[in-house]
């Protein structure tokens, strides 16, 4: 087995439970992410998704286990791993443009002012922001615009791994839709590896190459790895007509609705690797129904 670009090995996180003991959030979790892959993680609130992401970012330390990226162990935050937090990831005293130049200047310290500026502007335009909002402070932008700036900032430094923690969690459904499109467009042009958390099943299917499903905590597990067998480029309207769409969606709903609870609790396994699930109604081998009953 070749080692993937990012390899999470036997990661465990435990916190004191306040009564002298410890609570185990997750235990011996192992999974990998390939270079250029877009991986989304789904799971119920509190199962430990943000905890995993903070460990990947190097902002938090796991109780046990290691994360290896590109052959090196992750220890501490780095410009190789860009993070978009759910909220507050923009510095409110800086304008939209300055928020991006801040990152670009940190990433490319040798660049001239002009280079930094044009690179930053390019990325702001890429996420659909026009020049008239560049000089506005985050508080003068709508929620959607703010997240666009965050995404522009994250892409502008071309990190080896981009981590997104519920980036659209605070947005209304319409804005969400357009920003998902923006994100897909920006991502398609790069070979960016992305690891994203979301609560939205449809968003996950639209964006991901692979969805990791987590069971409920404590002792949560990354139980399944569901391949999204829908070709790119995808688009929100047409994707639902693909024969695999509802099959995959039903599987995810089933998991989150029922099996995530059943799988909860500790296991004896020394290592908890997700089971790969591939649902493909278009594959010749499969007993392919022409139309999927919805």
């Amino acid at each position: 087995m070749t080692t993937p670009f990012l390899s999470v090995e036997r990661l465990s996180q435990r916190y004191p439970d306040g009564e002298g003991g410890t609570t185990t959030i997750f235990e011996n979790a192992s999974f990998g992410i390939e270079r250029g892959e877009f991986v989304v993680i789904l799971g119920h609130s509190g199962c430990g998704k943000s905890t995993i992401m903070n460990i990947l970012a190097g902002l938090a330390e796991a109780s046990e286990g290691v994360v290896i990226m590109d052959g090196k162990e992750v220890s501490g935050p780095s410009l190789d791993r860009g993070v978009v937090f759910q909220n507050y990831s923009l510095l409110p005293w800086l304008s939209a443009l300055k928020n991006v130049t801040f990152a670009v200047a940190a990433r490319y310290p040798d660049w001239s002012k002009d280079q930094v500026l044009s690179h930053s502007k390019k990325h702001l335009e890429m996420v659909g922001l026009s020049a008239d909002v560049f000089n506005r402070k985050p508080s003068q932008l709508s929620g959607g615009m703010r997240q666009r700036v965050s995404i522009a900032r994250a892409f502008s430094i071309s990190p080896k791994l981009l981590l997104l923690d519920e980036p659209f969690g605070a947005l209304d459904a319409l804005t969400r839709g357009t920003i998902q499109d923006e994100l897909l467009k920006v991502w398609a042009g790069t070979n960016q590896t992305v690891f994203m958390i979301t609560h939205d099943i449809d968003e996950a299917i639209l964006l991901a190459d692979r969805i990791l499903l987590m069971s409920n905590g404590p002792y949560a597990r990354v139980a399944e790895s569901v391949e999204i067998t829908i070709p790119r480029p995808r688009n929100r309207i047409e994707i639902v007509e693909h024969p695999n769409y509802y099959a995959i969606r039903n599987h995810l709903v089933q998991f989150l609705g029922k099996r995530s609870k059943e799988l909860a609790g500790p296991t004896d396994a020394a290592e908890n690797r997700p089971v790969t699930v591939r649902i493909d109604k278009t594959a010749p081998a499969a007993p392919s129904p022409k139309k999927l009953a919805v």
Binding site: L59, P77, L79, Y88, L91, P92, W93, A106, S139
Partner: protein, 277 residues
């Protein structure tokens, strides 16, 4: 008639209040007897001072005109223009205040960043803070042996606390996500301090600075009454000893005006650093 703006109406009301107040003041003060008309007996018992002391506003205005048209004259140690006296006071306030800021802001940063430093220094701060700055005066005079430097020390000691506490509080309260932004962008400790923590905490720090300058200005008047020599505090006390209440009232007003100007400066600074989330 069209609706006037709130500002305009407030300004008009302010003028009316001022005018009415001055008029009332003028009306209730009986015509003043010149000091020369007092009997020896009246002067000795102070009776004359009480009656004749409070001048009407017209006299104060006259005094103000006289003083402000030549604020910087210097006719010996007991007769200097109001501008010179205020200048001395401002110099002492700024000297003590700047020294305090130079220590309080970096130290506050340290305390805000380190929970250990916070816990270790907190008891000292809590004990030293409530001490009236003037209570330090005898000790300062004894140790420093110089009235000028003692006055500056008193300003220093009274203005350090609000700045120290607000800086520590502001720095400790910087949102973790912003610090994480700095960390994920691999900013060094110094860059993080200057480009993230300082701007994030600046509104709280400037509020502390504003409180401090207000306290310093309150304290300098009292301190100068004690150490004497020069300054607006000494001037007020000296004019009281001369029984020149017109000058006393005029200088009280000047103290208010200068205090307001100092505060307004920090108001401008505050507007400059404030941000909304």
């Amino acid at each position: 008639m069209t609706e006037m703006s709130v500002n305009k109406r407030a300004a008009i009301l302010s003028f009316i209040l001022l005018f009415a107040g001055l008029l009332l003041w003028e009306a209730v003060i009986p015509a003043q007897k010149a000091a020369g008309e007092l009997t020896e007996y009246e002067r000795l018992t102070g009776g004359g001072a009480q009656k004749a002391g409070v001048p009407p506003p017209s006299q104060v205005l006259e005094k103000a005109w006289e003083q402000l048209s030549n604020p910087f004259y210097d006719a010996g140690p007991n007769d200097k223009g109001i501008g010179i006296q205020i200048g001395y006071s401002i110099y002492r306030v700024l000297a003590g205040y700047v020294l305090a800021a130079l220590i309080a802001i970096p130290l506050g940063f340290l305390i805000g960043m380190s929970p250990v430093a916070y816990k270790a220094l907190n008891p000292f701060i809590q004990v030293l803070r409530p001490i009236s700055p003037l209570a330090w005066m005898p000790l300062a005079l004894f140790i420093i042996q110089d009235s000028e430097a003692s006055a500056i020390f008193v300003i220093f000691i009274c203005s350090i606390w609000p700045m120290l506490i607000n800086t520590a509080f502001g720095v400790a309260g910087v949102r973790k996500d912003w610090v994480n932004v700095a960390r994920t962008h691999e900013l060094g400790a110094l860059r993080t301090a200057f480009t993230v923590i300082l701007p994030a905490a600046a509104p709280t720090i400037v509020t502390g600075m504003r409180i401090s300058i207000g306290i310093a200005w309150l304290v300098i008047v009292a301190a100068e009454m004690l150490v004497g020599g020069t300054g607006i505090g000494y001037y007020v006390w000296n004019e009281w000893n001369n029984l020149d209440l017109t000058s006393v009232i005029f200088s009280i007003l000047m103290i208010g005006v200068v205090g307001m100007a100092l505060d307004a400066m920090f108001g401008v600074l505050q507007r400059f650093v404030v941000y909304s989330e």
